[in-house]
């Protein structure tokens, strides 16, 4: 099947119950107090009636103010968030790069964590043994690779996480900002590696606030505004639209 993303009238709500009464105590307290003290917290309508089609070979940039729905959109495409209504159809292996440094095991060594992370991503132990040396070389942590993760600095953790997560590509690559990791030297390496992944991927969706990155990596731009699509088309025009809506001077 061809790699593609079809979305038809997709809506996504965050259930308000998730941050309202979460314990029995608050539930009972609100019942006991009698008076209707609770102000109505309604569900957050994070994505509103999204209909779009992304086909093989497309490089899509997402623009929008903070909270416009870019990350929610990516997580919905990745299948992490359920849609409240509408049709979401994604064909192809999705590789998402967000929340990179989550999920390390602090007591295990860097080398062990390479294996663990790979298994989390759905890879086989055999495949991970094959790529281990390459990941170790890229992370370039010296002898620390055989030390427990809890001895790592934050920057070292990000480097390792980045090295593992970018070792394997996918048909559909989802990026929430081009991941900047580690010191200046590593940043250059990281950027090259991301570009390599992008070139190999059939579909790229990149959420970013950096216009030059967006213009250099993407051809199509989608502007989100309060959960709806405000513009969908050429990336240069998308940047202009974004600037106009949000009252930013065009870069």
């Amino acid at each position: 099947m061809k790699n593609a993303i079809h979305l038809r009238n997709v809506n996504l709500h965050y259930a308000s119950t998730a941050f309202k009464e979460r314990s029995l105590k608050t539930l009972l307290a609100s019942l006991a107090s009698g008076k209707v003290a609770r102000q109505e917290v309604s569900d957050i309508h994070a994505l509103k009636d999204i209909t779009l089609e992304i086909t093989e070979g497309e490089r899509v940039g997402l623009l929008g103010h903070n909270g416009a729905g870019k990350s929610t959109f990516l997580k919905m495409v990745a299948g992490l968030y359920p849609v409240s209504s509408g049709v979401r159809q994604v064909n192809g292996v999705v590789r998402a790069l967000f929340d990179l440094s989550l999920g390390f095991e602090p007591d295990a060594t860097g080398r062990e964590n390479i294996l663990y992370r790979g298994l989390l991503l759905g890879l086989t132990p055999k495949f991970m043994r094959e790529i281990e040396d390459e990941v170790v070389a890229f992370a370039d942590l010296g002898e620390f690779i055989d030390y427990p993760i809890k001895t790592y600095s934050a920057g070292m953790q990000v480097r390792l996480a980045f090295a593992i997560s970018t070792a394997v590509g996918g048909d559909i690559l989802l990026l929430d900002e081009v991941v900047g990791a580690g010191d200046a030297n590593f940043m250059i390496k990281a950027k090259e590696r991301i570009l390599e992944l992008v070139n190999r991927a059939e579909i790229l969706i990149l959420a970013s606030h950096d216009f030059s990155t967006l213009k250099s990596m993407c051809t199509r731009g989608i502007v989100f505004h309060h959960g709806s699509i405000a513009f969908d088309g050429n990336i240069a025009e998308a940047v202009d639209v974004y600037c106009r809506i949000n009252g930013v001077a065009a870069a």
Binding site: Y14, A15, T17, A18, R22, S23, L24, K25, A78, G79, L80, Y81, P82, V83, R88, V90, V93, V94, A96, F98, D99, L102, G103, E105, D107, A108, L115, Y116, L119, L120, L121, G122, L123, T124, P125, F127, V168
Partner: protein
Amino acid sequence: MPSNPFIGDGLHVVEYFRGIWAARYFWWHLSMADLRSRWRRSFFGFFWSILQPLGLTLLLSFVFSNIFGTTIGAYAPYIFSGMITWEFVVSTIVGGALAFVQADAYIKQTRHPLAIYTLRNVLSGLTVFAAAGSALIIWILLMFPQNLSWSWIAVPTIFPILAMITWPWATLMAYIGTRFRDLPHALGLVLQAMWFVSPIYFEESVFRRGDLHLFLDYNPIYHLLEIIRAPLLRGEFPTVTNYVWCLGTALLLAILASLVGRRSERRVIFYL
């Protein structure tokens, strides 16, 4: 090509189990990592899983055999068998209630079927249970060799039965426990109450004498324990009734878990 952990939007049962199978390396690793961290940096390590219930058993059987006037030798393996099984159930269920909360870093990054995070508890728990269980078997072979009979081939059936009961139960608790964080505390209380009305430490005859047949004959815990107690302690096969009760309980829990899961599985991420 790496296998694809992303399953379709609908929660079809076959799809769901296919997803669990596709993630097998991951949950297997998780439960092994749990065991390693449990035993890491302690002198007895693995043997604590045997020593701890064994020590408590000796203490309890000394006290109880004086209270109830039974002989300590025969009573101790009874307590031990009840203790290790119950310990497994409690740790799997209470741990399971928090399984999704604990795995939030994984759940937020990749989309595996959530039941793998309770399967993790079941597997590591079963390993500990197997370790303590083999101590029980050695004990009985040394002290009561006359119990050894063909009925012992029924003993390994405890493993699939325990898994079939605790996995859906823990998953059900995890769905609810993610939404209502009070659950693990309340669960401790409920399980304590279940312990009290079940023949886990107290002998069957205590219940029968007190005319409390209800607490045995209609209690899944009694039937569950009979699966290892009948062969190991009395050299008899477990009855068909025992198995029917166990499988019935497993089926009921599986139905409940899938009913709740159908509604909750995809929404769990919002509550983490």
